[in-house]
Amino acid sequence: MFDKVLIANRGEIALRVARACRELGIKTVAVYSTADAESAVVRFADEAVHIGPANAARSYLHIPNLIGAALNTGAQAIHPGYGFLSEDPYFAEICADSDLTFIGPTPEVMEKVGDKATARDLMSRAGLPLLPGTIEPVGTSDEAQAIADEIGYPVIIKAVAGGGGRGMSVVWSHAALAGLYTQTRATAQAIFKNSGVYIERYLPAPRHTEVQIVCDGHGSGVYLGERDCSVQRRHQKLIEEAPSIHLTEDARRDIGEKAVAGALSVGYTGAGTMEFLLDADGSLYFMEMNARIQVEHPVSEMVTSVDLIQEQLRVASGEKLSVTQDDVTLRGHAIECRVNAEDPERNFAPAAGRLDTYVAPGGPWTRVDSHCYAGWTIAPYYDSLIAKLIVWAPDRLAAIERMERALSEFQIEGRGVKTTIPFHLRVLAHERFRSGDVTTGFIEEFMAEEAAAAVADAS
C-alpha cells in the first residue's frame, strides 16, 4: 500500500479520499487554490500545498503545479477525484513519467473508453447491448438519412466528443433529419472542435441506470449493483438511488457480468461506471463508460458495504480487490440528495456565500459527505455541490422517509446562500417519485407542474 497520496481535487471528494487514506494508514497531501486555503481537506490532511490562484485553470487543472506538489512532498500516487483532471489521459501519462501512480486506469485505457464511439464499439464486442444505430461517425447527410430510416424515428444525433447534454438533437421525422444533421455537426465543431456525430434510436422516456464496477490489476473485477439516476435537471443529477427498483435480480446479474467482462476486455483497472438507458420494456442499452469514481458512489457503498475509494487505493497500489463477486450482496435501499448552493426559485442560479450556520443531519443510517462547516465560504469559482446527503433503510419507502427527516434537520444559512434542500423535499413528496415511476424527463415535468400550479394559485 502507498505511504503517501496526493489528492488532486477539492471540496467533498477531496475530503472523502483523505478519509479513506487515513483509514488505510496512508498519509495525505491536500492541494489548494488561494480560495480554498481554509478548506476542510486542508485542515484534515497531513500536509497541504498551495498550488495556485482561485482560477482552476491555474490551480486544480495546472498539471506542472500538481506534479511539483507531489514530488516536493514525496507522494507516491495521485488521486484525481472526479471532474478536473480525473479523465485526462495526458495527466495520467505525465504522472507515469514522473514515477507517480495515477489512481485510475492506464492512459491508454482511459483514452479508449473516453472516446464514445471507441467505447461503444469495444463494449458491444464484449457483449453489452447498444441502442440501434451507428457506432462510427456518420459522414454524410445521405448516409444519416438512410441509417435513420432504418432505425425508425425518433432518432437522436449526438456529437462523438459531446457530453453534458450538449451537441445532441432529437429528430422526429424523415423530413427534419437533413437540417438537424448539418446543424448538430456545426454545433459539435464549435463546442468540441470535432464535428463527428453518430445516430441512434431515441428513447423518449428512459431511466438512467448505471453499473458500478471495480477491477484490479490481477484480472479480477466485480460489479456492485446499479444506481438509478433518473432524477436529473438538464442532465445534472439531483437524486440517485441504489438499487434500481426496475431491474430484476436476473437482469442485474446479467448486466453486471457483462459490464465486468467489458471492462476486463479492455484491460480496465480501478473503479468505473457503465452508463445505460433502461427502456420501458426492460431493455438496457450501453451509453458510455466513466473512468473515475462518481459523485454518487456512496449509494452503492451503502447497499454493498464495500468502500469504493479504499478499493481504488488498493488496486492502484497493486493489491487484489478485497472482495469477490460472491461477497457482494445487496442489502436495503440507499438514496443520495445532492445539496447544491443554488436557488431553485431563480432557475438554480448559483447562490454562494459565507455559511453562518451549518448543522448537518445525524442519527441512524444518515451519511453526510461534505466539506462545509460554519464559517466556510462557498466560493463562486467552483461547482455548486456543497453536501451529499445519503441515507440507507431496509426498503425504498423507508429510505424516502428517512431522507425527508434528515433534510428537515439540515441547517445551512448565510447571506446570499440558498440550497436545493426545499426543492428536494418537494420532489420527495411527489407521488410519482414515491411510486418510483421516474424517467429522465421527470424533473422537467415536475417543474412544469409546479409552475402551472403557481400560475393557477396566482389567478
Partner: protein, 176 residues
C-alpha cells in the same frame, strides 16, 4: 519548530507593532465605508474587525479577503509555515516580496556551480531574473516585479516551494 521561533525578540516586537499600526489604520479607513467585516491573516498574524451593520451604508457586500489561514487546522500543514510572503508584503516599509509563480524547486543559479542570479545588496531592474523554479524538468524564470535592491533572500537553493511562497525581499531604492 522552525527558525521563526528563534528569531530575535526585536523582530517580533517590530512585527507586532506593525500589525497594530495596520489595525488602527484599517479601523480609521473603515469609517464611512461599506465594509461590515474584515479579516486579514498572514503568517501568524491576523486582524479581524466586525462593524455594526447599522453603520454600514446601504447594501454593503461583505468583504472577505482571499488569503486567510486562521490556524484553525487540526493538523499542521506545510502551507501554514510558508506564507511569510504575504506578511512581509504587507510591511509598511515599501519592501516587497518576490514569490514563487508556481510549485517546484527553487534554484538561485541557472546551473550548479554558476553564479547566483542575485545576491543581497544587488540593485536590479523590474523583469530581471532573480532565480528559477524547476517543475516537470522545465526551468521557469522568476522575475522581479519591481526595480530595487535585494534586501533579503529567504528561500534556499534547491528548496521545494509552493505557489506564492516567499523567495526574497526587494526594496525600492530611494534616489531612483
Amino acid at each position: 519548530m522552525s527558525d521563526a521561533d528563534k528569531k530575535s525578540g526585536n523582530a517580533d516586537a517590530e512585527l507586532i507593532a506593525s500589525v497594530w499600526a495596520e489595525a488602527r489604520s484599517l479601523m480609521a479607513r473603515l469609517e464611512g465605508s461599506s465594509v461590515q467585516r474584515l479579516a486579514v491573516a498572514a503568517g501568524g498574524t491576523s486582524i479581524e474587525i466586525e462593524r455594526d451593520p447599522a453603520a454600514v451604508p446601504a447594501a454593503a457586500p461583505p468583504v472577505d479577503l482571499p488569503i486567510s489561514r486562521r490556524g484553525s487546522g487540526v493538523m499542521p500543514t506545510i502551507g501554514a509555515g510558508s506564507l511569510g510572503g504575504a506578511r512581509d508584503a504587507a510591511a509598511p516599509t515599501g519592501r516587497q516580496a518576490i514569490t514563487a509563480p508556481l510549485v517546484g524547486t527553487f534554484y538561485r543559479s541557472s546551473s550548479p556551480g554558476s553564479d547566483a542570479f542575485v545576491e543581497v545588496g544587488d540593485v536590479i531592474e523590474a523583469g530581471q531574473a532573480v532565480g528559477i523554479v524547476e517543475a516537470m524538468k522545465l526551468m521557469n524564470e522568476v522575475q522581479a516585479t519591481t526595480s530595487g535592491k535585494i534586501v533579503k533572500i529567504v528561500a534556499e537553493n534547491g528548496q521545494a516551494v509552493e505557489y506564492e511562497q516567499l523567495l526574497m525581499h526587494i526594496e525600492p531604492v530611494d534616489d531612483e
